[in-house]
Symmetry: C2
Subunit: 347 residues, 2 copies
Amino acid sequence: MTQSLTTLLGITHPIIQAPMAGASTPAMAVAASNAGALGSLGCAMMKADALRELGKDMKNQTNRAVNFNFFCHTEPASSAETGEAARALMKPYYDEHRLGEVKDANPTHFPFGEEICDVMLEIAPKVISFHFGLPPADLVQKLKDNGSVILSSATTVAEAKWLEANGADAIIAQGFESGGHRGFFLESEDACIGTMALVPQIVDAVSVPVIAAGGIADARGIKAAFALGASGVQIGTAFLNCVEAGIPSVHKKELLASDGSNTRTTKVFSGRPARGIINRYMEEMREHEPDLPDFPIMNTLTGPLRKASGTANSPDFVSLWSGQAVGLNRESTTEELIQSWAKDAKL
Amino acid sequence: MTQSLTTLLGITHPIIQAPMAGASTPAMAVAASNAGALGSLGCAMMKADALRELGKDMKNQTNRAVNFNFFCHTEPASSAETGEAARALMKPYYDEHRLGEVKDANPTHFPFGEEICDVMLEIAPKVISFHFGLPPADLVQKLKDNGSVILSSATTVAEAKWLEANGADAIIAQGFESGGHRGFFLESEDACIGTMALVPQIVDAVSVPVIAAGGIADARGIKAAFALGASGVQIGTAFLNCVEAGIPSVHKKELLASDGSNTRTTKVFSGRPARGIINRYMEEMREHEPDLPDFPIMNTLTGPLRKASGTANSPDFVSLWSGQAVGLNRESTTEELIQSWAKDAKL
């Protein structure tokens, strides 16, 4: 018998607002947690001091459980030549936006390590979730001994088994439908398994609770996830048209205009596959996709372009992250969405 | 209010055994229909005389509703040079299997047309389903006037709306998880939408009943499909380990060994994207995928290889069609699967 997910996470409704670094906001996490779901903070790009401040802020704004999310990617291994070739590809785009010299081909954020772990031990949040695997075993153990519940995403049965064996207290089964970065970490190539197929196969393979993610955007999806054997859901894209979402207005507009058929996964923004609405930059860079520097170096190079495009109210260079159920999106607030889903799905 | 799917199709359980040309058999269709589901015959590669005989045979074996399935692909438009280049690629494989001259680069089966339509007007089956769109409007109208219910597959909301506007009585929402050929016909590129995201978006867009397909392989998937708003399900891969399946034993073995992570879509067998378990031929031919002749010319060229490989009990050149929920497969009979699903899903 698996422990109830709501008890494990200390929440009322078995719904996790997905951590979406650069898109979700502390205000969204507070609203989600105060509405009885699990609010999440995408902390992958934060430095220790800022994270410490964020931890204090959160404690002032909610006494409910909150989830802090981090990346556990492998350090980039691509060559300096690959980095320079990508800088050369970026140059005309930087020139078009009058952005000056292309940034150096270096990572500007790093996998979860000792320094950030120490901050998490101070903050001691109820939940810490990881993407792209788990941190080194000693750090996982310290966080668990400190009382935090550990989550991570699996895109295959093999990844789910690995996460369970390495200390995850519950597993997020991330289907191919989901927006943003694919969490795969074991397979040499992305297996691209849809939520409908992935969830029951993972449920059968592990004994910890399974949280379904990908393609879920309303009460119908929540009920379907439970029918498949999931103990909860993680929802991302549906929150991006909420007032609390920290994305450019042109991104919100593209989401509301989509019928779900114009997204695909791409490495051209960050160096790792992530799902977004197809735009000019994705189309033009597609042929170079196999030759780009590793995550997150590519993310460094595209940063100024993404920002300038959003400021100029153009969709052309914004990473328009979106899942495939985006056609169900509507303008709302985080609280209203969670309350309506809980009511309609009879949670 | 949509008409009940079971009433529309004249069946007891809202389950369609997917037509899988070359894999399903008349025995499977009879077993499925007699168990209260809708049995389907994959007739895309049949000539008129054989089809007429099959129609008579079916009437002798079941008085329940049966579905005859056909392809509505566009005629191949690739050049003779493309065909010859593909023949040259096949030559070493033909030599390896001592198969003599590579077949001519011509189609050996054709889209649903007048002659086959006339046979269908004679047989007058309860249900006729199409893949890759619909036949010309006058043929659709004749079949409907003759009393057959018309189904076809949509992989996007736009395709679902097109099918409804062009006479489909119910729409199969085919998610990216499904095995075999992707049914897309309107989009220039496959949108690859997963079942969890596709079904509710199509349900919201059309007023005819929606049948969920892709990633459904047990009662959990059936219940999830209903939660998403579907009126029924179409299931394929789960039937391939039934005694009635007409596939090589090496294919059955590969299905039972899979955890769902080793499939992908490929054009290398037929010229159109279809999902199968990755094997030597898929790997070796991957780089040539963009340059192959159109469907179904490529199918002609690979025919002898697929057959020889199956006979030799090797998975290397068999089109190992499979959906992503294949990890749920078990050895059974068509009747037993349908009865157990109907019981467990409380249909």
